[in-house]
Symmetry: C2
Subunit: 317 residues, 2 copies
Amino acid sequence: MNPSILALCGGVGGAKLALGLSRTLRPDELLIAVNTGDDFLHLGLHISPDLDTVMYTLAGAADPERGWGLAGETWNFMEAIARFEGSDWFRLGDRDLATHVYRTRALQQGLGLAEVTKSLCDAFGIAHRVLPMTDDPLQTIIATDQGDLPFQDYFVRLDCRPRVRSVRFNWVEMARPHPEFAALLNNRELRAVILCPSNPFLSIDPILSLEGVRPGLQSSPAPVVAVSPIVGGKALKGPAARTMEELGMAPGNLAIAEYYRDFLDGLIIDRIDEHEAAAIEKLGIKVKIVDTVMRSMQDRIDLAETTLEFAIGLTRR
Amino acid sequence: MNPSILALCGGVGGAKLALGLSRTLRPDELLIAVNTGDDFLHLGLHISPDLDTVMYTLAGAADPERGWGLAGETWNFMEAIARFEGSDWFRLGDRDLATHVYRTRALQQGLGLAEVTKSLCDAFGIAHRVLPMTDDPLQTIIATDQGDLPFQDYFVRLDCRPRVRSVRFNWVEMARPHPEFAALLNNRELRAVILCPSNPFLSIDPILSLEGVRPGLQSSPAPVVAVSPIVGGKALKGPAARTMEELGMAPGNLAIAEYYRDFLDGLIIDRIDEHEAAAIEKLGIKVKIVDTVMRSMQDRIDLAETTLEFAIGLTRR
């Protein structure tokens, strides 16, 4: 396998484009590196929310309404565990639980997260390579007005209510990007890097924080293009816009472009944000204006094709 | 709590009488020590089949048809894990799984099995004391014509098909009876010990094998009474009769009496086995003949009352 397209991806929003890319590119052409900063131990189980979302989405098994978890899920385990725990704030479906139980045991047996993910993907019939950004532990910590919170505590348990002051990544000094990911990033055959429409600060930044990734994106001969998760000053899903405000930025595409400007060649924004294009282009970043809201499968494929064409057509600064 | 009645118990059959005892005795009067030789790790989860059967039965939550597991159970986890594993021979219901996930995590956090069982019982509203026979690991190994098998491999995976040659208990030298169990056994206030109708070789013997238990039963001033699990030469549930044949005994109450004769004062057998009474009494063991098949709740309560009266009326040899 010698992929030539690298996608960096978080959860629900990013997974939509990852699905589009997987319908546009052959399995041997694409590598999807997924954020694992949200991974956590819950009820003794190793849960990888973004990996699972990407996996279930690519398998066509994700719940279309929620965006996360499996379609046709049941919740009898949750009902039963509530009796013992009270700690039922993170919802684990009965079928979804099989993923976590399998993963936890495989990790305990000494397999790496990438290897386990490969087995899970095989079982789901996913031919494309879905790779955790790292096999090492790395934990996204949100410093808030209610103290330091692991990602899922902030995101799910407290429903993003605390005000974000800063974000850091525990153990990032020891974490290394997965070797396949690092190798592709430094491969001269790499044709494009796509940042999927995921939260830049909470989902993409953990990936960028890994040793060598940001420098790799800066020095790669391949163009780097992001699809903005912000439409009309709001995030389609999740707290990206509010996070930006709380971090002292104006929620919008310009701030995202500025955040990525050290390596970004092109930014895809929604038609509704056309007025931001000029300011972004002043940063030396090309802008492509399209409909970025992906409702149908065709929307996902169209946006994937547009993104690839746009990226491959760019030359690096 | 100062219990005066000690019950030794295995799985489904024993749990029926344990339920009857719990409807007959106050919570502070009864201690139920349960076999844990069948406990095993499956999919990384600590499963205690007999403890769960007793717990679910006492809570009125057990499935009335199967005898094990929870009533109204669903099997979506099993369906999903089959995708990854193939190792779906041990059926874990979605609700039942909550027990195993909770127990596994609590044990990992350093709690003892008895403590965890107490929390589980509290959550199920069980006031009577259900105690694992030991907090230590002890593993029932069945030596068969197909090699040495952990209990659940023999019992569930291979459906008791291999021929039993002998039974041994791994780590028994290191295992100690739970202190509450040992203390009651040696307490002069103990009024009776009841061996519930469980498989003598596979369910009761692990309890008897713990240091001090058999000698304690021999020297206790309290009478020891067993309710036979064999009716008309057959086990009502499970492989007890076949095990006896394979171990070279004639399947029946006489062989059970002989097996327990070093400490047994009384044996309760079914009307259908009345012809065995004389031979058993020749061993110095009193026999009580009743209907031992427990179909209704009233049957359970009646047999519990009969057993208690019989036991307390006996004097030790």
